[in-house]
């Protein structure tokens, strides 16, 4: 035995005197709060161009549980930027992408955006924040007046609500109301065909999960009034264990489940449901996020005939441009492309096309005038284009297809295209109901 460490043991006694239950509780609260406001500091990242550059700022989330949002957004934007630079830029000016981590905090997203423009010389913002951060960035942009394209917020009101309208802000991302109409129509057709009457929902208990689920159910019920919602489960965001919800599904025995779970939560939910063989024995799943390639890759077992909205698929649409995007992306990224990837790639397409049209003038109003109503060639749609609608600054004509899972090789296929005519008609009705029109 070595000699006792007297000083250390004395300190231990002092330490125990100091620590009381109240300390534990205060500290537990402090760590929970601190962790909630801050995950991991990600290193800033700069994709450098050469020579005289146009600096484009990108606030996004590069740390914590949703770091894949930022990484797959950044890498897709890099693909588009590198193509633009390789083609000579605009009048010899290349783009330099300046990426900063907001850690998923709205106030940090706002601060980072201001810094990017005011301190780091960025003339354009590609906002790859999730919804809460996007609204904060949106407000900052209304002050700064630079061109901003939101790329990850699916919350419809961001661009649909005229009170939030910012002349230089646009959205190159799918939005909830479009998905709800397309998904509701697709699910209703299957409900009629397969007799899926008893429906249950299992979505994360926060604003996005509840809004997304309510909209999906609303349009499902419009298109198939005979369906019945027999149960709704609301696991909290980032719930690690879904067993209690899985066994609840076993008790309820629904014909179909709609879930707005996404990311790692969706992976956990499905793997834990697979242990009980929930799917494939009379219950099917309709998911708003399952077809994202990183999720499909993470799953060890993908049951057949689960349904998901299109997120990204290198084989759909089956075309050279899509395959090239996938090859370019995977050549520079550690992740598989996600839904956020095609949205960011598309945003850079709008931005670079506008820069070409203005001859490199980065004035926010001038660029916004060009982006308004712009149509760009897209590798991600069967029509080959995506349009930035002029009246509310959001994209239409993007992929809203729904498909079915294929266990081997794991993936999605049998894509059924959404009817944009129906979607736009229903969207107009929805806007009127919301008082937006």
């Amino acid at each position: 035995m070595m000699r006792p460490a007297r000083e250390e043991t004395t300190q231990m006694i002092d330490s125990k005197r100091i620590l009381r239950r109240r300390d534990l509780l205060k500290s537990a609260g402090a760590v929970a709060g601190a962790a909630a406001v801050s995950s991991v500091l990600g290193a800033p990242s700069i994709a450098r161009g050469q020579g005289k550059v146009i600096r484009v700022g990108m606030p996004t989330i590069l740390s914590g549980r949703v770091a894949i949002l930022g990484e797959s957004s950044r890498d897709a934007a890099r693909v588009a930027v590198e193509r633009f630079n390789a083609a000579g830029g605009v009048d010899g000016r290349e783009i330099e992408l300046v990426v900063r981590d907001s850690r998923g905090q709205p106030d940090e997203a706002a601060r980072v955006t201001r810094d990017l423009v005011n301190s780091e010389g960025c003339e354009i913002i590609i906002d790859a924040e999730a919804s809460s951060g996007a609204f904060a960035v949106h407000e900052v942009i209304s002050d700064l007046g630079v061109l901003c394209i939101h790329t990850c917020s699916e919350t419809s009101s961001l661009t649909a609500d005229p009170e939030l309208h910012v002349p230089t802000a646009f959205r190159a991302a799918r939005q909830g109301i479009h998905d709800a109409v397309a998904g509701g129509g697709y699910a209703a057709d299957l409900a009629k065909e397969k007799g899926l009457v008893r429906w249950m929902t299992c979505s994360p208990d926060y604003a996005y999960g509840r809004d997304n689920t309510a909209q999906f159910i609303e349009y499902l019920a419009i298109f198939a009034p005979e369906i019945e919602i027999v149960n709704q489960a609301w696991p909290k965001l980032f719930e690690p264990d879904y067993t209690a919800y899985v066994t609840r599904i076993l008790q309820v025995k629904p014909d179909a489940i709609y879930s707005a779970l996404w990311g790692g939560d969706l992976v956990s939910f499905l793997e834990q449901a697979n242990l009980y063989q929930v799917f494939g024995s009379g219950t099917t799943l309709f998911s708003g996020g399952l077809a994202d390639p990183p999720i499909v890759n993470a799953l060890k077992q993908l049951p057949p005939d689960l349904h998901s909205v299109f997120r990204y698929d290198p084989d759909y649409p089956d075309g050279e441009a899509n395959r090239k995007f996938h090859a370019d992306y995977t050549a520079l990224s550690d992740t598989q492309p996600t839904n956020w990837s095609w949205q960011n790639f598309t945003a850079v397409q709008f931005m670079t096309e506008a820069l070409k049209r203005t001859g490199g003038d980065t004035d926010g109003a001038a660029l916004a005038a060009e982006v308004k109503g712009m149509e760009v060639d897209s590798p991600f749609t069967e029509s080959g284009t995506i349009t930035m609608r002029a009246d509310d600054h959001t994209i239409v004509g993007y992929p809203v297809a729904w498909g079915r899972s294929i266990p081997e090789p794991k993936g999605f296929g049998n894509w059924v295209r959404g009817d944009w005519g129906e979607i736009l008609e229903r969207e107009t009705e929805w806007k009127q109901r919301q008082g937006y029109l």
């Binding site: 231990m12 914590g64 209690a244 919800y245 009980y276």
Partner: protein, 299 residues
């Protein structure tokens, strides 16, 4: 509230078995993490705020070992032992420097390591979701007990946690090492004066506590998605367990973890919108009626 549904479930053997086994599944993983937290606090007086990150590290080490060897046992050993070694080194190099300091120092040090470990995991394994996958030996249909399905892996997981908990209890209450640990918890200065290598003792205790977190992470790896930052939610629930069970009490951690597990499992049927609320009400009740916890003693 749907207490009728809950009563209906409990009156059906199949439903009762399913939900009670669910409570055990949730509770046993929580017990492993919370008992490590409790052990470290009980003996060293340190609130290891990095314990959730240790759980994450255990899951990722098991994932890596399983990927390399394809052997489930190797994955469990890598997860548990890897984190145990990391914990012991962490105690010697860092924690030992802040004994006797304000609790805020513990918070700052441990939280710093949470950030570092989360980033390290992201650098090594990436930000993608990872899933270890179910080992072939457990990729079986659920076993039906009184008509209620229970997956074989969960039966193993509950058994493993109970065995480890039992060994921990035996080790602390029946062995010489356990006597030293208990003595150090009670009067570390005297233990040191009697010639015991307290540095080694402290590192061992911290290592065992970390091993429990690592083992919980390794056991969770086949059924939970792995992401940087995944340790936070289990850390918060472990604090609740520790407060309810009593700081420093392994038996208390076991009982409290079961209570929390059953609350979540039965709450999902009977009061799905008040499950978290019920857990915090339980904690508040314990704090009011028995401030030292169900099995704790005032420190």
């Amino acid at each position: 509230m749907d207490l009728t549904a809950l009563a209906g479930c409990l009156s059906s053997a199949a439903c009762a078995v399913t939900q009670v086994s669910t409570g055990l599944i949730i509770g046993m993983l929580l017990f492993l993490v919370a008992s490590g937290l409790s052990l470290i606090f009980g003996v060293l007086g340190v609130i290891n705020f990095a314990h959730g990150a240790f759980y994450m590290l255990g899951a990722y080490l098991a994932f890596a070992a399983y990927g390399l060897t394809g052997n489930f046992v190797a994955a469990m050993i890598a997860g548990a032992l890897g984190v145990a070694i990391f914990g012991a080194v962490f105690e010697r190099v860092f924690i030992s420097r802040i004994y006797g300091r304000d609790v805020l120092m513990q918070l700052l040090l441990c939280y710093g390591f949470v950030l570092i470990l989360d980033d390290m995991v992201k650098i090594v394994w990436g930000a993608d979701y990872k899933m270890m996958g179910m080992p072939d030996s457990f990729a079986l249909p659920p076993v039906f007990v009184a008509g209620g399905p229970v997956p074989p892996y969960y039966i193993f997981m509950i058994g493993a946690a109970v065995v480890v908990g039992g060994l921990l209890w035996l080790g602390i209450s029946r062995t010489r090492f356990g006597k030293l640990v208990r003595a150090a918890a009670h009067n570390p200065q005297m233990v040191g004066a009697l010639g015991v290598n307290t540095k080694l003792l402290y590192a061992s205790v911290f290592g065992i506590g970390s091993l429990l977190a690592g083992l919980a992470g390794a056991l969770a790896a086949p059924v939970r998605s792995l992401t940087p930052g995944m340790g936070l939610s289990i850390l918060i629930e472990s604090f609740i367990v520790t407060v309810i069970g009593g700081m420093g009490s392994i038996v208390g951690a076991f009982v409290a973890a079961l209570l929390i597990g059953l609350t979540r499992a039965l709450g999902a049927i009977g009061f799905p919108l008040f499950v978290d609320g019920a857990m915090f009400v339980m904690m508040a009740m314990v704090l009011i009626l028995r401030p030292s916890g169900l099995f704790g003693r005032q420190v």
